[in-house]
């Protein structure tokens, strides 16, 4: 009997783990279509047919990787959208959490955004699975900040500042740090200190005149 017919397997086997690890690395870097099952098997150092044995099809293997990636991505946003606290309180901690997560998995943003850009119809389903209710979240946002900067624009600004430098890593490294990876990484670390006061400014004054 095939393993994937059993209920809710929880990545027990060593082989299964190797497959997932290799699949993540390769899907993150080359995308779904750019990665073959053979590539993954070679990277994991196992026979190719074992991928089908454990995950039945490429689609299902990809889904496992994709959902795993999403779950390191959206929860931070979900907290932001559903939180009972005010922005001012939790924004700094959240920024640090997001950047730390991205420094460990810098390839996830571009991977997730590419997949969602190819299949935008997946968004509603994805949000449901992640436990985010857009209607409730948006209503709360509007109650939370009746004046000042539009809360949606504020959230867009925060996540843009956190995520984009990771999504654009090759461009940023080459364009701003002359290809020096260490300098790039150092700059990403610094942003954990730089961004919170910046975001604080967003919420304090939203008019353009300053003198």
């Amino acid at each position: 009997m095939l393993r994937h017919t059993t209920e809710q397997m929880a990545l027990n086997t060593e082989t299964e783990q190797k497959i997932i690890s290799s699949a993540e690395r390769l899907f993150y870097q080359k995308g779904k279509a750019g990665t073959s099952m053979q590539d993954i098997a070679d990277d994991a150092g196992i026979n190719r047919t074992l991928l089908n044995y454990y995950f039945r099809s490429k689609d299902q293997l990809f889904e496992a990787v994709f959902k795993n990636a999403m779950s390191t991505f959206l929860p931070n946003l979900a907290v932001m959208l559903h939180s009972e606290m005010n922005f001012e309180e939790y924004a700094p901690a959240m920024i640090e959490t997001i950047i730390d997560a991205l420094m460990e998995n810098p390839q996830i943003p571009i991977f997730v955004l590419q997949e969602l850009s190819s299949n935008p119809d997946r968004m509603p389903e994805v949000m449901k699975e992640m436990g985010i209710d857009p209607v409730i979240a948006i209503t709360k946002m509007e109650e939370d900040r009746p004046k000042g900067m539009d809360p949606r624009q504020l959230i867009m600004n925060i996540i843009s500042l956190c995520i984009f430098p990771f999504a654009a890593r090759p461009v940023v490294t080459e364009l701003l740090y002359n290809g020096d990876n260490d300098q790039y990484l150092e700059a990403m670390k610094q942003r954990k200190q730089i961004l919170p006061p910046l975001v604080k400014q967003f919420m304090i004054k939203s008019n353009g005149d300053e003198n």
Copy 2:
């Protein structure tokens, strides 16, 4: 004799144009590996072998599309890096230029970033072709702003705020605008007014205390 052996063809033929148009649409959305030559031919309504006749190989067709996409992307950054003016002067106009370009081609960021993420080694070559010299650019940056916010962080912030909401379109639309595309587009338009004063703040005060 094959057409692609002639010197510097300039997209004359109607057929050639149809190929490029379809290739752009499909490569932008599905990526290089996710798009087959047959897909492009079907979309253009022509015979598949004509793609090889005009562009010799899939690689060469992709390169034509990629370079074209890059050229709508990097020049704005090049101007920013090489300009003789101060940031304060040209930042607002540049922001508007970038956002206008992105509203016309919203898929380009994710397309370009995905390709560069898969092949980061391409960056140096790409910059050379786009006429950007990182050494000169970075030196100028440091002369330009000896104190205040690190100019590299400043540039990162500006391009993040401009580009990311387009790269993350499906997420933003669903998460913040409940799937309403018109609202999303309206918000992108508003950012042309919102961002310049924000960026101005970056350059005026860089310390965290405000009261």
